[in-house]
């Protein structure tokens, strides 16, 4: 998939654990893991909004487009 989720990078920058972020964003740790490991097929705007709010970042900091080889 050409869209890469760089959530772990932002989490490391903000020094926040996966469990804590999942709790703040109000999603299950399992779903956060799916998102972090690039297994997700889609992200709701509400989830993206909550992630950006909690990590104090822009959607572009979390999502990246990488051209397919």
């Amino acid at each position: 998939m050409p869209i890469v989720v760089n959530l772990d990078v932002m989490m490391a920058k903000r020094k926040i654990s996966a469990g804590e972020l999942a709790e703040r964003v109000d999603i299950t740790p399992a779903n956060l893991s799916i998102l972090k490991n690039n297994k997700a097929k889609a992200v709701r705007f509400s989830t993206l909004e909550a992630i950006c709010r909690e990590l104090d970042c822009q959607p572009g900091d979390v999502l990246e487009y990488v051209k397919d080889e």
Binding site: L32, I34, L35, A40, K41, A42, V43, R44, T47
Partner: protein
């Protein structure tokens, strides 16, 4: 007194009917020599003993396999595993079984061992019905494939 017909009861009925048909198909295996002899006597040909049982054994074997797949499918539905790839595979195998039966009976239709015109027509009718059912099952399989994809997309939307 009215009986409330629930989905569970409907599923139970389907499973029971599938198992009953499976048992009948297995029992039919033992009746094939008798049916072949009866057919040979009816068509007034003596050299049919070798060919007709083969056609019937192949058809019955495929029917047993298809019924077993149907049983697996219903077992999955009972276990709440509906939109899974395994079920689509079951439909695909059932569909191929139907097409194989259709091919066998189409071969029978145009082969000279079908002596009487009426039986030729019956063989063609069986081939047509098997192919028709195979086609419908194949469309259902395509539908289930799309449903599995949708479910996966839904499950992986965070």
């Amino acid at each position: 007194m009215t009986t409330k017909w629930t989905a569970t009861k409907s599923l139970f009925l389907s499973r029971t009917l599938t198992i009953a048909t499976l048992v009948m198909a297995i029992a039919a295996l033992f009746c094939i020599p008798v049916i072949s002899e009866w057919y040979a006597a009816l068509s007034e040909k003596t050299d049919l003993h070798g060919v007709m049982p083969v056609v019937l054994y192949i058809s019955d074997g495929l029917a047993i396999f298809a019924l077993w797949q149907l049983h697996k499918l219903l077992r999955n539905i009972h276990a709440q595993r509906v939109f899974v790839t395994e079920n689509a595979t079951c439909f695909r195998l059932i569909s191929w079984c139907c097409f194989a039966v259709a091919a066998v009976w189409l071969f029978t239709t145009f082969w000279q061992f079908v002596y009487l015109t009426f039986w030729r027509f019956v063989a063609f009718l069986i081939a047509f019905m098997a192919a028709f059912v195979g086609l419908i099952v194949r469309v259902v399989k395509n539908l289930l494939d799309a449903a599995v994809e949708l479910r996966e997309e839904n499950d992986y939307t965070i």
